[in-house]
């Protein structure tokens, strides 16, 4: 039995593959003997050999860990009965994505979802567990409604656990479930919107002009259902059937007062080109002799909507796309990018200004180790694009900057923005690679500012585990592991992040957070916000020392409550004078931060 694992631990790269392909399955020693005759594959990345994430001891609940820039407040374990104590690798119990509302954390899994009260991270409370199998359990919450994606053929309309054996069945559900949680003591499934490819993920989208409805975009990546099971479904290519279920997303309208009437209202062909060819993003051409017709980019894995700027970003198979969602039910594509390094466009996150978008590449699907020293750093990573006038341009890549082991599945996965004013920071899950906080303020030169990582679940077995998502919610970082529990962190000051920057981020409070429904953050005119801008300019050496000292003195007085409006006005005026000089080039400095700082000072003065 050990030979199975040894084979998968053999060196990768062309030479390792030769050893694997040429020989029968052999014991460890023989594989290593063959491999050692040939040069080992070269490392593709460089890293700090002193990084404390290297060599962490393995274990399910007792793995070693390394931390930087964060305080680990709690490790909330899985409740008994919700995991298989024999192994962390039992996929039936895999936890997936999370969403937040009113201090509650909603966590999906392959068999339903759970609701946690995590307001006191040191004493969490599991409020409710809902059984409703169908995978993969992508959840969103909006007001009294919880949405859950189901794509697998075993999903049942009645939330049964017995699966659906028939290939055509009226009992099957593949699509988006809608639960009404107005009463936690009586949660109900009020609607189940069927879709032709099921729902791998979904995106809640609000329409600023419509407060009676909420909308849901369905991203289906599974096989198309037969028309006998769901009328109108067709898996044919566009040339054969202009009504094919491929090459589109579905838009659901959900009346808030009557969610049971939720229905698909449009199925926009967001891949179409100007000529109307629905497969317009296809880049290929003539096939050549002996090759067959093949499928093309015809689905999105996930879409992140940013209604306040009227845009959404779609990670769609072989492309990253930008959508105009000013008309929510008819999103239209305004730009698309390809990247020869990307295997599988997975998800997207905008920066708060909407001037950048980070796409992630889930090379290997999430169950494979892709953070080894031999894996190129532009594969399975983040690609950061700038957005200008509706056009995206590649600026740089970011990948977990330290290698992980062969038994740790690892690749870029879900994350969200940490709202530090003046910086673009994203906290992100890397499966068993742990979590990493990336600064992409300079999109061409992203770098890591904080991290947390555990050793592998096992030294010898490749389990699928680690963080599915890590998100920021109301001052805390929450990390939800697939087979361990939920971690809660608080940022700690470091050379990369000052106390004031952290305090400014912690000032931001939202009631509801769904990662794919990105909120526009604004900061109050408060001292930590002003201090954050000043700290940044000092750190990056973009302010005169004398000016910095003067401003610091004013902010110190403001923090102590002894700064008068006149003090603050005078400081604002001084900053604005500098700003004018910076804009003409007479003075070196940081125009964006100075402008923001002046605004906060004036706000404080009022």
């Amino acid at each position: 039995m050990t030979s199975v694992f040894t084979a998968s631990r053999a060196a990768v790269g062309s030479l390792g593959a030769v050893a694997l392909a040429a020989g029968v399955l052999v014991g460890a020693d023989e594989v290593l003997a063959q491999v050692s005759d040939i040069a080992p594959p070269r490392p593709q990345m460089t890293w700090d050999p002193n990084d404390p994430r290297i060599g962490l001891g393995a274990g399910w609940l007792d793995a070693e860990s390394a931390i930087s820039g964060l305080e680990h407040l709690a490790a909330i374990p899985r409740p008994e009965g919700f995991y298989n104590p024999e192994t962390p690798g039992d996929g039936r119990f895999s936890n997936t994505d999370v969403a937040f509302q009113d201090g509650l954390l909603y966590q999906g899994n392959y068999n339903g979802f759970q609701i946690w009260n995590v307001e006191q991270p040191s004493s969490p409370e599991l409020r409710l567990s809902v059984v409703c199998p169908g995978g993969q359990g992508d959840v969103s919450v909006y007001r009294h409604l919880v949405f859950m994606s189901a794509q697998e053929t075993r999903g049942r309309l009645d939330c049964g656990i017995e699966g659906v054996a028939d290939s055509i069945s009226a009992e099957r559900l593949r699509g988006v479930r809608i639960f009404d949680l107005s009463d936690f003591d009586d949660p109900r499934q009020v609607a189940a919107v069927q879709s032709c490819r099921g729902s791998h993920t979904h995106t809640v989208v609000t329409d600023p002009n419509d407060d009676e409805n909420v909308y849901v975009y369905i991203q289906g990546t599974g096989g198309v259902r037969p028309a006998e099971e769901l009328t109108g479904c067709s898996g044919a290519e566009p040339e054969e059937d202009p009504n094919t279920s491929l090459f589109r997303i579905e838009v659901v309208r959900v009346p808030l007062a009557a969610p049971e009437r939720a229905e698909i209202v449009s199925m926009p062909r967001i891949f179409a080109d100007e000529s109307g060819d629905m497969a317009g993003l296809w880049q290929g051409g003539d096939h050549g002799p002996g090759t067959q017709e093949s499928r093309r980019t015809n689905q999105c894995h996930d879409i992140t909507a940013f209604p306040e700027i009227g845009l959404a970003a779609g990670a769609c198979s072989g492309n990253g796309i930008l959508l105009d969602i000013s008309d929510v039910t008819n999103p239209t594509r305004i730009d698309e990018v390809i990247d020869p390094n990307f295997a599988y466009w997975h998800s997207a996150t905008f920066n708060n200004d909407g001037t950048k978008v980070v796409f992630t590449d889930e090379w290997g699907g999430g169950s494979a180790p892709r953070c080894r020293a031999t894996d190129p750093p532009s594969w399975g990573a983040n690609a950061i694009f700038t957005i200008e006038d509706g056009e995206m341009e590649l600026a740089g890549y970011y990948k977990l900057p330290v290698p992980q082991t062969e038994t740790e599945n690892c690749v870029a996965h879900n994350g969200s923005i940490i709202p530090v004013p003046g910086r673009d920071l994203m906290v992100q899950a890397w499966y068993q690679g742990g979590l990493s906080i990336m600064d992409f303020t300079d999109p061409e030169n992203p770098f890591e500012v904080a991290f947390f990582d555990r050793g592998p679940l096992s030294d010898s077995t490749r389990h699928t585990g680690g963080y599915w998502s890590t998100y920021w919610y109301n001052g805390r970082v929450y990390g939800a592991e697939i087979s361990r529990g939920i971690d809660v962190f608080r940022l700690e000051p470091s050379e990369h992040l000052s106390e004031a920057e952290i305090a400014a981020a912690e000032l931001v409070e939202v009631e509801t957070f769904n990662a794919q429904l990105q909120p526009r953050v604004t900061w109050p005119d408060a001292v930590p916000v002003a201090q954050a801008y000043l700290d940044q300019m000092v750190r990056y050496k973009r302010i005169l020392n004398a000016r910095a000292s003067e401003l610091q003195a004013v902010l110190d007085r403001a923090a102590a409550g002894s700064a008068t409006p006149a003090d603050l006005e005078a400081a604002a005026v001084q900053v604005e004078r500098d700003l004018a000089a910076i804009r003409t080039g007479a003075l070196g400095g940081d125009p964006e931060r100075m402008e923001k700082l002046a605004g906060v000072l004036r706000g404080l003065a009022r």
Partner: protein, 245 residues
Amino acid sequence: MKRILRHLPAVAMTVLTAAACASAPAEGPDGPGQAADPQAGQPDEARTVDPGAPDGSAGPRIVQPGAPGEATRTYEGGPLDEIEGASHTEADVRFMQGMIHHHAQALEMTALVPERTTREGFRRMVLRIEISQTDEIGIMQTWLADRGEAVPHAGAHGGMPHVMMPGMLSPEQMRLLFDARGAEFERLFLELMIQHHEGAIVMVRDLFDTPGAAQESTVNFFANEVDADQTIEIQRMRQMLEQRR
């Protein structure tokens, strides 16, 4: 100096933890969740906490909704490991076993590359195929072994032809590839690997069309990812072929 200080606590923590981690997690009445603090090191203050209901009631409430519009009932099924409807079938086993052979042939093809062409862009694309398929063979072998099923050898048996699955190269096609060099090899490789990948996609389609198959989450997940990864690679290879015209 700050950098060293920042790393030092973490290093000290791992040293302390290494000493502590010899002790097995305690099996208290609340199960392994009450184990010794997983981060025994000094600077990490996280505490493993007990998620029990604060009012001392029997435990978390578990409910099972009905179909849309119907009532919700308390989940009577006991521990969730009884969700059996999603177990694997014979078709899933044959899929995994067949795909191992299928992937193995792809690796035979990629093994030909180093000696037949030197172009960097082409070799990088081939490296990706190699890494993906080598790993996937490992995943499939583990899946089969975990379920007590026969695990195929991932390689040719001394030159004997494979069982032919969709898209696989015939001995004649392999011979053509073996004999080619340079640009001609690259073109032939791309065409044949596209054919090979399309075959894998057909195998996935066939699996989903089989009643009862691909219901188990891991199979469903894996099959979808093979489909997605290979579709992307086909696109990439088609682009490369297009550029050669």
